[in-house]
């Protein structure tokens, strides 16, 4: 049966271990990106004017919620890390579940969706951070990184983690797609499988 071939090839072999390692890395990267950006907040007091001799101070806060792109960034990273967590749990604790053809297809499609989601989030946040860092003199938007340096640094760290997550998710997606191909060359450990590999 063609289905049995795919089932046994997908649950064993070196590609599973590589995939597990990559998923753990991607999970850690996206989770750290979500957490660092989610906790990104800086409050600073500035002197905005002088009344006579006493300076007037005003407190300004830079939060990630102020920018919709960063909110999307946090949500998307949380979703992708949750997806990776589910896949890791499935691989570690779902040892007896058969990975039928449809399940492998849905894993591959979910991986592809998540890689596009994550790349969109990382890029949107990246370009918004670039506007925040350099300003835009054509639109007369002042840069904010000279005043809120810690906020910008934390944001930069989260962005780097997210881009690392994008690269990892892309590799994971490619490996998931390759697992869908008819496994004529996969190494299968059990003897029961070897009889069904030969067409």
């Amino acid at each position: 049966m063609a289905v049995a071939k795919l089932v046994l090839a997908a649950t064993s072999g070196k590609s599973s271990k590589i995939l597990l390692g990559l998923r753990v890395l991607a999970f850690l990267a996206t989770l750290s990106a979500a957490i660092v950006m989610g906790l990104n907040k800086e409050t600073k007091t500035f002197v905005v004017g002088n009344v006579g001799n006493t300076p007037i101070k005003a407190t300004f806060t830079a939060k990630f919620q102020h920018t919709p792109a960063f909110v999307y960034f946090v949500v998307a990273n949380a979703m992708v890390s949750f997806h990776n967590l589910l896949m890791i749990a499935l691989q570690l604790f779902g040892g007896k579940t058969e990975l039928t053809g449809f399940r492998l297809l849905s894993i591959a499609i979910l991986d592809m969706l998540n890689v596009t989601l994550l790349s969109a989030a990382a890029n949107a946040a990246g370009f918004m951070a670039e506007v925040g860092k350099n300003g835009n003199k054509h639109a007369r938007w002042d840069k904010i990184c000279d005043r809120f340096a810690t906020y910008c640094d934390h944001g930069a760290g989260a962005l780097i983690a997210a881009f690392a997550g994008v690269v990892l998710m892309l590799i994971i997606s490619a490996v998931s797609i390759s697992r869908l191909v008819q496994p004529n060359k996969c190494s299968i450990s059990t003897t029961a499988a070897s009889t069904s590999v030969v067409p």
Partner: protein
């Protein structure tokens, strides 16, 4: 016969995606408006924002790629490569639309916390054209997702329909 209709359908999809990406590219490149306020002349072009430049480049890459794949012969072994490249192009499209949308949203609504004023009040035609380009880019993205699913289906046979 079903295979032929599927192939023609995929070809039509790719042609439509090529058209949409090209349209997005052209509309964004030709968006330009000159306005003057407070005795200062302001010209809004797509090169003002880095995200719009990235949008133009990404859509150019996708257009060229779609055009080239239109002429790929049916029996070529490169179709396996096309699956991965389709995924890369979808990623490129989503990221470019997402970045351009994030910046355009700030241009339209401003960002009160950062002291950034919206610019769409001064250059409404520029804003409309950018919106049009983004819509075309979004259409190209949806078509590319469908194309990706088709490429996946035709190359890796995920439902194991062929008994070999």
């Amino acid at each position: 016969m079903a295979k032929l209709t599927k192939r023609i359908g995929a070809l039509v999809l790719r042609l439509a995606a090529f058209g949409a990406a090209l349209a997005a590219l052209i509309v964004m490149v030709t968006s330009r408006e000159r306005a003057s306020f407070f005795a200062v002349s302001l010209e809004a072009k797509y090169t003002d924002m880095a995200a719009f430049k990235y949008f133009v480049i990404a859509n150019a890459v996708v257009s060229v790629y779609s055009f080239l794949v239109l002429f790929l012969p049916k029996e070529s072994l490169l179709w396996k490569f096309v699956v991965v490249l389709d995924l890369l192009m979808t990623m490129l499209l989503t990221s470019s639309i997402s970045a351009a949308l994030a910046v355009a949203q700030v241009g339209k609504k401003g960002n009160a916390n950062a002291g950034w004023l919206p610019i769409c009040g001064q250059v409404p035609k520029f804003c409309d054209q950018v919106t049009g380009a983004l819509i075309a880019g979004f259409v190209a993205l949806v078509l590319y997702v469908l194309l990706l699913l088709y490429s996946l289906h035709s190359v890796v046979d995920p439902f194991l329909l062929q008994k070999s």
